[in-house]
Amino acid sequence: MQLTQYTLPNGLKVLLKEIHTAPLISHWLWVRAGSRDEGPGLSGISHWVEHMQFKGTPQFPAGELDKTISRDGGFWNAMTYIDWTAYYETMPSEKIDLALRLEADRFINSQFDPKEVESERTVIMSERQGNENSPMFLLDEDVQQAAFDKHPYKHEVIGHMADLKTITRDDLFNHYKHFYVPGNAVLAIAGDFDTQRMLARVEELYASVPSGQAPTRVAQDEPAPEEERRVVTQGPGETVFVKAAYRSLRATDPDFFALTVADSLLAGPSNLNLFSGGISNKTSRLYRRLVEKDLAVGVSGGLQATIDPYLYDITITVHPNSSAEAAVAALDDEIKRLQDTPPKIEELLRAVKQAKALFAYGSESITNQAFWMGFAEVFDRYAWFENYLERLAAVTPADVQRAAQLYLRPERRVLGVYQPDGSPEAE
């Protein structure tokens, strides 16, 4: 199961991995375009472009694309995140050429028909309204907004409603043409194929795509905040949520793995699998401190591998008989404990064993393996992923303590509280 890496003369990076355990192939095309690449007035445009990629090319007209894939028993979808947009198809091996032709085609030939743009505008506004129904979305949006001054990470991937109303067809088309160039994309394919033949086919399909210009980026480094920021989101419901979002590290930062272990000890192991669930966190420090002591009914941590420093967040669902203040005080105590005393080596060994098990689960799915290949390449190199367990194992108790001291200081965070309307606990 050797990985083959190759870069086409036009700049397209190709990663291929033969896996012959099932007659399936998973095909992923990644583009480094996400909310990170959206300037003022254009929030949500990367996600909207992703939607438009399902709206047809001259060769595969709208309405035909989805039918063609489904007819062959494949499943496909796309997703937009802060750093990237990814399109994938997993299909019976003998049918994969369709996915190859389709992605190569819509990479350059999507039409962005004005009528389709208008119809999709209301679909995306509806998607956003669906998100707004969730208290967590409302809190997340406020916390993100407060966490950055200028960096586009400050807005949600779906975009502001005001921008969704005003983005034009030309804005969308320009964004597409600017970012969808070979040097800004990664093609990752895993499954039941022959590498040489697959590579030849990829070259045939992409050789004629002009290399284009390297995209310019709006994102600029932004220093971590120097004092704690607080936001209160009010909305319907009865449940109080707390979100503590600390300015995090880019995935390539040498301290990223120490922070990963800190997260694992505090809130349970992060799951790098997109297509396979994680494991529980009931022995994590924060669960024991918050949930077992009836301050919360749930707690989770989220550390993500990103291009620029994003947010490490801890989300607490506050116990009906407790308060946001009590939960935050306990959170701060636990973080201080990690800052004051290095963890035991057993705790670190456990974090590594958990990560190993999660890797074994993730390997069952070819789709998940192909996901890993492209994902790591978007923010670093595939080696980041290959060396993940090794780098995790190399983290020492002192590294974890230092990471907690450096990166989990209150002044680096936004503290957000979702306060239900009319609740007597309102701050």
């Binding site: 099932a22 989805d66 309204q129 319907p236 999660l358």
Partner: protein, 428 residues
């Protein structure tokens, strides 16, 4: 290049019935270093008294909170320190369980399963912790337009039938449940008769069966009741409409539907292939094409067919702006009318069939996927070669059969329309 059939069948599934009635199915996956365990016992929400609705669910949530041998932290320390997981969930008919671990740790998974099922301790302080979690879950449900539309829908479609009840209960019924209720529910209803255990992964099937036998064959419970027989269900006499206001929301959820075929019904496959055409195929079938693609009214609009042990719903659901509720409902009914009065096209049926046949290996890619397939094969008595024969069963369905199944179940004048969303004045 594929070393063996990717599709499970009688020649690579081991099925054994233990002396106490437990049915065990196992299949080795030599490519995997992990093992998935799944199972179910015959005790679910159907056994809940009306005033203690949610009792089966509450009981399931307590099983991992402490046993005769280990307390809560010891249980989870055993699991999490090896990157394993194990848990319970409760449904209408059964309580399910499942977990996974590295293959070398499978013995521990089984041991924990045994302790949780046979000797849960129901520690009083955990009864209250779990109660608070369940009540928080219910208060979040009350704010979720999709969940609330679904509750409303069940109340309408299944009046006078147990499916009208919410398995997770309501705040007053969860508050009424005592520790004694939990202990008694477990003692009276949990037992090996009707129990299924499925093991899939990097462990030889025969060895897996023997380990399950060693862990569970000595379990007996003479009190275990006979399986609940569902009463007959009647569709609504006329179309019904109900709407629930939830203040402060942006979007409304609309559900249109009625009861559908049993999984074992002869017309199930025709209904299922038809449902794929109605609201799934491609980007959510005809409904998605009409409501989302052409009208741009919704981010999601799809149909769904339950197909279980009872008359599970056959429905169409959409999330829309409150101003568009009527328009979307109208479009949905238009599609249902067409679907129940006109033959689907040759092309649609052939597309739907090749989609089913082509995507089957994909659903069987992971240990979890195979375990789910084995569970359904046993629960619905489909036979061990079901997935090998699946293409033939799919290909045998005709356009006429699809129309007959559609007309049989989806009667537009006997359907429920359930909506949950912001008050109309607030949205305007």
């Amino acid at each position: 290049m594929t070393p063996r059939s990717a599709i499970p069948g009688a020649d690579d599934i081991t099925r054994v019935e233990l002396a106490n009635g437990i049915v065990v199915l196992a299949r080795e996956n030599p490519n995997s270093k992990a093992v998935t365990l799944r199972g179910s016992i015959l005790a679910g929400g159907l056994l809940d008294p009306d005033d203690k609705l949610g009792l089966a669910d509450f009981t399931a949530s307590m099983l991992m909170r402490g046993t005769a041998a280990r307390d809560f932290q010891t249980i989870y320390d055993s699991l999490e320190s090896i990157g394993a997981s194990f848990g319970f969930n409760s449904g209408t008919h059964t309580t399910g369980f499942g977990g996974r671990s590295l293959a070398e740790d499978f013995g521990l998974l089984l041991q924990l399963g045994r302790e949780a099922l046979l000797s849960p301790a129901f520690p009083p302080e955990h009864v209250e912790k779990v109660r608070a979690q369940l009540l928080t879950g219910l208060s979040l449900r009350a704010q979720d337009t999709r969940d609330m539309a679904s509750l409303l829908f069940d109340e309408m479609v299944y009046r006078h039938h147990p499916y009208a009840r919410a398995d997770e209960g309501h705040p007053h019924t969860i508050s009424a449940i005592t520790r004694e209720d939990l202990v008694n529910f477990h003692g009276s209803n949990f037992g090996p008769r009707g129990m299924l255990i499925v093991v899939v992964g990097g462990i030889p099937a025969a060895a897996a069966v023997e380990q399950v036998r060693a862990a569970f064959e000595d379990w007996h419970n003479p009190q275990q009741p006979a399986p609940v027989q569902l009463p007959a269900w009647q569709p609504l006499p006329a179309r019904g409409y109900r709407r629930l206001d939830i203040a402060g929301k942006s979007q409304s959820d609309v559900i249109v539907g009625t009861g559908g075929p049993l999984r074992r019904a002869p017309d199930y496959m025709a209904a299922s292939l038809g449902n794929n055409i109605l609201g799934r195929f491609g980007l959510m079938g005809r409904v998605g094409d009409s409501v989302r693609e052409k009208a741009g009214l919704a981010y999601y609009a799809y149909s769904s067919l339950g197909g279980g042990l009872g008359p599970d719903p056959w429905l169409v659901a959409a999330g829309v702006n409150p101003a568009n509720e009527e328009k979307a409902t109208e479009l949905i009914f238009k599609e249902i009318e067409r679907f129940t009065t006109e033959l689907v096209s040759e092309e649609e049926l052939s597309d739907s069939k090749s989609n089913y046949i082509g995507s089957m290996p994909l659903s069987l890619e992971s240990n979890g996927g195979v375990a789910d397939a084995l569970m359904s094969m046993e629960r619905f008595q489909l036979g061990l070669d079901y997935y090998r024969k699946f293409p033939d069963e799919v290909n045998a369905v005709t356009r006429q059969q699809v129309l007959e199944a559609a007309a049989q179940y989806l009667k537009p004048d006997q359907m429920a329309v359930a909506v949950a969303g912001p008050p109309r004045t607030e949205a305007a």
